[in-house]
């Protein structure tokens, strides 16, 4: 089965690293075929930033996301930009502190979207003391909520991706995300 995942936010939130870690977890540690892509360039500076991960048991040909099964939105702008692409019945994970939910309520309802809230920024700030690990917290939430990547694979992928010396904080962040109930 092909699963299409898109993570979006603003530049500086580490959205792209999140995509890479999800991809790594799935491909190297869970053994699922995975393609990760992203948008590039000066235009992304400060503006919207997004990454896409396609996961599939079969070979993946077309590598891009056409209609996400899972959308992860870390900023309001990103949410508005991408929500309309979502598959009916898809999973939406948002950081409620960054988002004005009222604007999407209708859409969520109409399209049967499974909405999950993960207070990743607050969690990063308050529990880890480092706002910049919000993306790792979010990865925990994604793993827990969507089950597209396993807990252990994700942990391995994080350890494989973050700068030496930061492993502990990052795993802490991941576990905090994984511990969320996602509602």
């Amino acid at each position: 089965m092909r699963t299409e995942l898109r993570i979006a936010g603003f530049g500086g939130q580490g959205v792209i690293l999140a995509g890479i870690i999800v991809g790594k977890a799935a491909s190297l540690f869970d053994g699922i075929n995975t393609v990760q892509t992203q948008s590039y360039g000066p235009e992304t500076r400060g503006g919207a930033s997004k990454t896409e991960v396609v996961l599939c048991d079969d070979e993946i040909h077309y590598p891009k996301v056409i209609s996400p099964d899972i959308l992860v939105a870390m900023s309001h702008e990103a949410l508005i930009a991408y929500i309309s692409d979502m598959k009916d019945g898809g999973t939406l994970i948002i950081d409620p502190d960054m988002i004005n939910e009222s604007e999407i309520a209708d859409f969520v309802k109409k399209h049967n979207i499974k909405l999950h809230r993960a207070k990743v920024t607050k969690t990063a700030e308050n529990e880890i003391g480092l706002r910049i690990v919000a993306n790792i917290v979010m990865i925990g939430a994604i793993s827990k909520i969507t089950q597209v990547i396993s807990h252990d694979a994700t942990k391995e992928a994080i350890l494989d991706s973050v700068p030496p010396g930061t492993e502990k904080k990052n795993i802490q962040a991941f576990e905090a995300g994984y511990a969320m109930d996602g509602n």
Binding site: F10, G12, Q13, G46, S75, H76, E77, M98
Partner: protein, 85 residues
């Protein structure tokens, strides 16, 4: 009156650092892009030197002219050359 355009400001803090009168402080107010804006909290200290305007990379600051009776030390005046800083 010092105005900061929140849609232009990127929160670099250069204004805070540049103002020798410590007019600015960092606020906890975020703009749409998650940027914490500076806040001209101590406007009463402002000597209208316009340095913050000159140093703001995003043309986000306006130090309005109506306070122009204060002494400016940065206008077009100085003729000293090659001042070392």
């Amino acid at each position: 009156m010092i105005k900061i355009k929140s849609d232009l400001c990127k929160g670099c803090d250069i204004c805070i650092e540049s103002c020798s009168k410590n007019v600015y402080t960092k606020s906890s107010k975020e703009n749409k892009k998650g940027v914490y804006l500076p806040c001209p909290d101590n406007q009463e200290n402002c000597n209208n030197c316009h340095l913050c305007e000159l140093m703001c990379p995003d043309q986000a600051i306006t130090v309005e002219k109506d306070e122009s009776n204060k002494k400016s030390n940065v206008g077009d005046g100085s003729d000293k050359e090659d001042v070392e800083e």
